[in-house]
């Protein structure tokens, strides 16, 4: 399909009764595509911008119906006899709109990850959930990086905002300001990640520098009229040092805001890496203990930050 002419966007899931992604009870829309490669990413199937085949090796019988059916010759068998694996040329897959491979797979090893949807269809789906949200709830766009599809995101926010639906976003912040700006009038709430204050460390964790992120954060602090809550995904030994805590707190205050939500990083996404044909690179570590979390929280509080732990938020 000619992707330049699309008016909708690519999503990979819709989930109701999300309770930790903004105020109240919410419906969560997962948008595809992300510029970052965070080591702990828990939605690796959301990184690539377009739909892709998701491959569950454990269910694969290597009958190779998919290989025969693929019109783009995107599938190859790799590995030796005892350790076979299918490999997908995701470049080619991104141009496919038939997904014949999934259609002929009989074992459930292949599924289509993500699909294209028009704004109005998505809105009609969202509005069916309205009665469930209660007073404070609404819609949160997440992903992936929602602003990686800027027109789609702003159009959806506008559609919801005008229908009196509360709008929120979870963003990595690593997008050009011009991609973010069109959504701002229709946005009421932003979760904004600050993964590390040191540029080099940030790059080690996410494959990307933090300079654009920090610039965007400063500008949002000045211009965004809604509630801006920063988020720190806490990776033990990586960004939970006192140095980074001090720097993060100082930076947040310099934006003119004061709220931070700490999320202890977990390994929930690990099992999905293989699905998306990727390798999980985060070295093994223990989950941050409750005591340590509280310690970090207290440290932030002392520095003048309103700090929430995990899902223990007042909203």
């Amino acid at each position: 399909m000619d992707q330049s002419k699309l008016t909708g966007g690519f999503i990979f899931d819709i989930q109701g009764f999300s309770v930790h992604d903004g105020p109240g009870c919410r419906t969560l829309i997962f948008l595809k595509g992300c510029p970052l490669r965070c080591l702990w990413c828990s939605n690796p199937e959301g990184i690539r911008p377009f739909p892709e085949p998701l491959y569950k090796e454990s269910k694969c019988l290597f009958d190779l119906y998919c290989l025969k059916a693929c019109p783009h010759e995107a599938i190859t068998v790799i590995g030796d006899k005892d350790n076979r694996l299918l490999e997908f040329d995701k470049e080619k897959c991104s141009k496919c709109d038939t997904y014949d491979c999934v259609g002929v797979c009989l074992t459930g090893a292949l599924a289509k990850g993500g699909s294209y949807i028009e704004i109005e269809d998505l809105y009609n789906r969202i509005k069916r959930d309205r009665q469930y949200w209660g007073e404070n709830g609404g819609v949160t766009l997440t992903g992936g990086e929602p602003f990686a599809q800027p027109e789609f995101a702003s159009a959806l926010f506008k559609r919801c905002y005008e229908a009196m639906i509360h709008t929120a976003v979870e963003t990595s912040g690593d997008i050009p300001w011009k991609n973010l700006e069109p959504s701002l009038p229709w946005l009421e709430w932003i979760f904004f990640d600050l993964k590390h204050m040191d540029g080099t460390s940030h790059k080690n964790l996410t494959s990307s520098s933090n300079s654009r992120i920090l610039e965007n954060a400063m500008q949002l602090g000045r211009e965004f009229k809604g509630r801006l809550v920063f988020r720190l995904p806490l990776v033990p030994g990586m960004n939970d040092t006192d140095e980074n805590i001090l720097a993060t707190a100082g930076f947040i205050l310099s934006t003119g805001r004061h709220e931070l939500n700490i999320l202890p990083v977990h390994h929930l996404g690990r099992e999905k890496y293989q699905l998306a044909g990727m390798v999980y690179k985060l070295p093994g570590f223990e989950m941050t203990t409750r005591e340590k979390l509280v310690e970090v929280q207290n440290r932030f509080s002392d520095l003048g930050i309103t700090c929430y732990l995990g899902s223990e938020t007042p909203f």
């Binding site: 309770v19 459930g108 269809d121 009665q131 949200w133």
Partner: protein
Amino acid sequence: MSNTGKNPADFKDCPAESINYYGNKPSQQVEDREKGRKPTPRANKARELYFSAKSSTSMEFPYWYTRRWEELDGEIPVIRRAESLKAGFEHLTPVIYPGELLSMGKASYLRSSYPMPWLSEAFFMASEDKLYQEALESGKLTADTFTTVGKGGGNVTKSAGKVISIAGKFGLRLEEMPVMLEVAKKWKDRSVDDIGHKYEQMVPGYKEKEAIMRSVICMFDSGYTLPQGREVMNYYYPLQYGIDGIIRICEEGINEVAGYPEMDRLYFYKAVIIMLRGIKSWIRNYAEEARFLASVEKEEQQKAEYLEMAGILDHISSDPPRNFHEALQMLWTFHVAVLNEDAISGLSPGRVGQVLFPFWKRDMDKGIIDRAKTIELLECMRIKFTEIDCFASMGVVGGVLSGNTFNNLALGGLTKDGISAANELEMLILETGISCETPQPTLSVLYDEKLPEEFLLKGIECTKAGAGYPAWVNNQVAMEFLLNNYGHEGMQLEEARAWAIGGCLESSPGSWMPLNLDGEIYWIPGGSAPATSVGVHFISLPKVLETVIFDGVDMRTGERIFPSHGYKLETYDELWQGFRDYFSRAVHVLTLTNNIQHDAWRKISPSLVNSMLKPDCLEKGRDLGQMGARFNTTFNIESCGNTTLVNSLASMKKNIYDDKNFSLEDYRKAILDNFGYHTAQETGSYSLVDQKPAEHFTEYRKIHRQSLDAPKFGNDDLYVDAIFKQWEDWFCEMTHNYRSLYDQPMYACQISVSTHGPMGAVTLASPDGRLSGTTFSDGSVSAYPGTDKHGPYALFNSATCWNHSQSQNSQLNMKIHPSVVRGREGSRKFLELIRSYMRKGGFHVQFNIVDSRMLKEAQADPDKFRSLLVRVAGFTQYWVELGKQIQDEVIARTEYEEL
């Protein structure tokens, strides 16, 4: 916004994975529930005692009952019945446990119950006994053969030493075995079962009924299995008049009717008096025992407690209660008394907190009770209700009830004049539900928009504690159902507000009674109908569809069940018509045969204790079987496996008729070959997740995959939801065409209880991709485990695609991971979730707040998890006392976890 505005917009492509029946990915660490508080030391001691007790049965009551019955050959039946009950009550050995504040039980063991051979004598005979073999041949006991009873906890699953295991659950002392068999033989050809069976054969098409029972299209007859229960109790008369007062009412009744026409009333009044004298002796025997224990007790406080107990029992053996403690003892005594007159499950105490509030408030005002004492008493009440056991055949106990007795206590709702009925005592009942977790009494909140937030949040706190209660049921939806079904009997809005849940989830009519306390009138609610869930028991919808596909033959056994339907099934409409034809045939013959059974029941074993309690039996001078109650439209038709049926229809519609991927013949072959898989009995697990392919499964991979990928209910997918609505609209309406024994229209009841396990066990693979022998979907609007992929909102949208007030109930079971509802915000959002479902018109939702890995650990190591409670299908039960089929099903349910 209505569901008709749906745009199905291809959401089937959205999930990251295709339907795989595995549910969401769990996190690494097992999450515990938010811990509740501990019971008082007194209750804790009693609960520990309960955990060590085994289900036991004794022959005292049935022996004396039968002996008296024999003596009175030729007496007027209702008098004979009353005398037999009296003899039974009088001879029950009283047993009082140290530390108890409430006393009395069904029989002389802590967890005791006894067989009632006057209902059915066949099922507890040893399996080599000829009687049993005969019963097996006539098809009645097939369900037992396919039911597993939980292997842990208090079940006596194997005979050991001097204890015989009966029906895999109850222990009987070896020396009582000859008595049991002797007593059972006395009832041969005279029990409700045998008499009913003799006459039900006169129904034209009776052979078809037997075939239906053998194929387990229907599970259980109604008239002799659990003829009472699934109803709300009414304690007004003993609370207001006391036993002597009721006897006086009956004596006045006799004076009015003796010698006048409609003489049945004379015998009824006389029978109630006889029966009550038996109950008086029974209570006084307990008082005597308490005094004896006091006389030998050294410890001062315990001695005083025994004496106080003797005083309370003596008083209530003749007079109405003077305070809250006495009122609670009175309520409990009559609850047990009813349980002792029939095989009963689902005898619900109803809105106890509102019934007892006037007594409690007065005591509080006078300062003779405080909150701490109230909590202790309410905790003792929880233990007492948990001690109730129900003696029935293994199929009924394991397959339907999972050992549960459904003493459902309702909270909230509205008062007679239509404002919130929640009160302070109910807050304490919720509190003790948290502090003293036990399966009984299970709790239900009658949700209404008028209920105060504080009360609702207390309910949330209780739900979060994880014992599986309270269930949340919709007050307005139930009232609408009741007004629709009982309007012709004179029910008006005000009276509709007196309802409560009877049994697991049966909306049951109630009435307001004027309790006069110190000259002030309090309108207290209570049940005013007989059992609301008798008639046609669980019909296996997927099994009916299976016979449609195979033109009337049960392919598991090769037996023809129905005559050929004559359709070629070339269109979806023909398939749907075929289903309706067979379903209607089954309902028709089962209605008639069960009416006959119930007629045998009301003639041989009429209810006396329960009749005396229910308005307006004393006023009319008629028992429940003679329509003495105010409301009598109480027969229902029950379904099982709704979602499995609908998913199967959707799969066939899509794959055969719309997309033409396969032919009907392809499906027949795949079903017979179980899609190339081993059967559940071979793999030993009843969950679809654990099934293993056989060698030739590649042949069926395509049809199985496409069946699994067909639209599934629970995802807000209009394709399948439309089929669901079509089924509901038709089913709820068609039930009204059948007439009960009391010549009233019947209604739809949609709860699976535990029948989706054993019924699944005898059903071949189904067109939705479910494999042979595996469990059906549970409840009635629950998704099939693991197939709802878009969270609770999508599930709610599907569940409310039809109007729930057309049916006595609907049932939605959900499993929620503890992390989702953690903390203060978690509580608020949890309430928001429930409230939104109620606002959409959902009738019922209940939750297991549990990490499924904890359940798996518990399956592997039952001893460590003796006190783990889970919610099954309308009830809470100890995990270790559930059968494996149901355990597997609960583990497989989709768990809503933090994203």
